[in-house]
């Protein structure tokens, strides 16, 4: 019987339990951060348990860390949470990339960057955007705090196997549209819970042509479609990305041989199959309070069709029939585990080069890791943002969830490259509009959203291209 990539990796990790019932899976990599780990470490201590495999556990700090100035005063609780992680990692022998360390950054950015994220692994983390790591052909999903403690104590996790969904993506991504637009358009079309109960695999020519950062952006937002795991079959692009990274296998030939076996035999093996053509994809923008409330940049905000729409309009302060250009903006945020990678910054910098922010805009550029930050400072990317009037920050989750000081003030609108436009997500009363890094950068320059397919057309026409 044909099986999917997900089935294959799942079956390789089952220790106990029957299909259809909870099964005990082995965990190859447990990523830990400061917010969802204090209680589990404490649980181990009070039960007198050890952390079974420190060598398969890696910790960093991201949710709470300051991005303005590493020394800047944190509130007491944030400081305590960070200090607690330091202490716990020391006590239980876990590798920690702490604030200021060269390997520190958003956990879903540094895992891949260090080469810890690899094909065929089962990867968990107490964070819902763990789906990001599935871009490498791993089963990666977010878990709750009780599950974190369970993994620490046993290196295993109980899960009922989800159904599988194949999303076959075809067509050439039009100019000025990105992986971010692809996943946003999918969620706009199918809703915020179409993936619930499913593990998603993206495949097809469009996906094969995407870089690893682009694949990560897509898998990252599977949770916004309701699925806790998204994945892509590993291929040469995956192997090339991993080769030579600090924690990747040294024997890449052997690794490639093993990883090349990982694949879906036949698309009939999926429980559900969706086909999605991107040939007519447009840059996307959210107008409401969940990621499904999105429109193409050349569309108008939709009519009110239910009480959820009404509540969203009431909160965000827009009304049906508005153009994206008419959404008032005060802030732009380029960052988060969705879009803070070097390649994302490059797209934003292309738009901002030689230009300056509009007078009404405050801009925060927050690289996903120290490695990205250092690279961008070395090669001039950071200077482009600074010259444009942006604030160039230290790495962390920052205004994606605004747990640190980076809060969008109440009533203010932000164009954001992050993943959630929930009520109060970027600060109490903040109003978020999700989009790609290029769209957000262009909005910063213009002072409002613009259709970047048009400015590029004009620029190219002027240059006689």
């Amino acid at each position: 019987m044909s099986q999917t990539l997900f089935d294959q990796i799942w079956n390789q990790h089952v220790i106990a339990g029957e299909p259809g019932q909870p099964q005990l899976l082995y965990v190859d990599l447990h990523l830990v951060h400061e917010v969802t780990s204090p209680q589990p470490f404490d649980g181990l201590r009070t039960s007198n348990r050890r952390l079974r495999r420190p060598d398969l556990t890696f910790a960093t700090m991201d949710h709470n860390v300051p991005t303005k100035n590493l020394e800047s005063v944190q509130d007491e609780m944030s400081r305590l949470q960070m200090a607690t992680l330091e202490k716990n990692c020391q006590e239980f022998g876990v590798d920690l990339a702490s604030v200021g360390d060269e390997d520190q950054g958003i956990v879903h950015v540094v895992g891949p960057e260090l080469g810890l994220t690899q094909p065929g692994k089962v990867i968990v983390c107490g964070d819902s955007h763990t789906a990001t790591h599935g871009a490498f052909g791993a089963i990666a999903f977010g878990i709750g705090t009780s599950e974190v403690e369970h993994v620490m104590a046993t290196q295993t996790i109980w899960q009922v196997k989800p159904k599988t969904m194949g999303i076959k993506v075809t067509g050439h991504l039009p100019a000025n549209t990105y992986a971010k637009d692809l996943i946003m358009a999918l969620i706009a079309k199918y809703g915020v819970s179409f993936g619930t109960g499913y593990a998603i695999e993206f495949f097809g020519e469009t996906i094969e042509n995407l870089s690893m950062p682009e694949r990560m952006t897509i898998c990252n937002m599977c949770i916004e479609a309701g699925s806790k795991t998204g994945m892509v079959q590993p291929d040469q692009t995956t192997f090339d990305y991993l080769a030579g990274r600090k924690r990747a296998p040294k024997d890449m030939e052997k690794a490639k041989e093993v990883w090349s076996q990982l694949k879906t035999d036949d698309e009939v093996a999926f429980d559900r199959l969706i086909e999605f053509d991107v040939s007519d994809l447009k840059p996307m923008v959210t107008w409401g309070t969940n990621p499904g409330m999105a429109m193409a940049v050349d569309e108008k905000t939709p009519a009110i069709s239910n009480s959820d729409d009404q509540a969203a309009y009431d909160y965000i302060g827009l009304h049906p029939g508005m153009a994206a250009e008419e959404i008032p903006l005060d802030y732009i945020f380029i960052g988060s585990c969705t879009n803070s990678r070097y390649e994302d910054l490059v797209e934003a910098a292309k738009i901002m080069k030689g230009k300056h922010l509009a007078a009404n805009i405050t801009a925060w550029i927050v690289p996903g890791s120290r490695a990205i930050r250092n690279r961008a400072m070395k090669d001039g990317l950071a200077q482009i943002f600074l010259d444009a009037g942006c604030q160039w920050r230290e790495p962390g989750c920052s205004a994606c969830l605004a747990m640190n000081e980076d809060k969008i003030p109440a009533g203010k609108h932000a164009a954001s490259t992050s993943n959630r436009n929930f009520v109060g997500r970027q600060g109490k009363g903040s109003k978020t509009h999700l989009a790609s890094p290029a769209m957000v950068a262009a909005a910063g320059i213009a002072g409002h959203f613009v259709d970047i397919t048009k400015i590029h057309d004009t620029a190219e026409a002027a240059m006689g291209v």
Binding site: T36, S47, T145, V160, V192, S193
Partner: protein
């Protein structure tokens, strides 16, 4: 974990879809390093007005809804962030069960670790349950997988292993420790790439 066999309690209705974990417990309350005391922050942005006063229109602030233990709501409850703090806030407030059209996968698992019974019922059933009066009791009988209001009964499904866990109030780690030999055997044959 606290066991769940039967609950007879009054209910609160939040008739909205996709009530996410940011709404259930906003991030500013995730900084606590303990598991307790989150109930006072539950549904913070709905419960409190900008000036810090309680919002009199919100169901959990209404006098006749004090002491409720069952929440009835829409589809996709608990979506978004994986924060188990959202479940801790619900249980600390006094909720024992949530009846929804569907739950996010991560929230569902978190609920099963904390004795908060997640019950999936179709809209037609929930529409009837949502007419519950403030002083009216709903009975949830896990053994028979039945929700009852007056003489109306609604059957719900639950995985037998999760059901067993709820009934016994079992701790997962203790359960898993029974598989120590299998875990060791798996590790022994596991080939890590180097």
């Amino acid at each position: 974990m606290q066991s769940f066999v039967k609950e007879v309690g009054r209910a609160a209705v939040i008739d909205a879809n996709s009530v996410n974990t940011d709404l259930i417990l906003p991030k500013q309350f995730l900084k606590n390093i303990l598991k307790t005391g989150f109930g006072k922050y539950l549904f913070w942005d709905w419960r409190y007005l900008a000036d810090g006063q309680k919002n009199p229109d919100f169901v959990l602030n209404q006098k006749d809804h004090q002491g409720v233990s069952i929440l009835i709501t829409g589809d996709n409850f608990g979506s978004g962030s994986s924060r188990e703090h959202a479940v801790w806030a619900l249980t600390d407030f006094g909720f024992r069960a949530v009846i929804a059209g569907s739950f996010s996968d991560i929230f569902y698992m978190n609920a099963t670790k904390n004795g908060l019974l997640p019950i999936v019922l179709p809209k037609a059933d929930r529409d009837i349950l949502m007419t519950v009066a403030a002083d009216e009791a709903i009975t949830i009988d896990l053994v028979n997988q039945d929700v009852a209001m007056d003489d109306r009964h609604f059957h719900f499904d639950i995985n037998p292993q999760w059901k067993e866990k709820f009934l016994k109030g079992e701790d997962d780690i203790d359960l898993t420790m029974k598989y120590a030999d299998q875990i060791q055997a798996y590790e022994d044959q596991r080939q890590a790439l180097v």
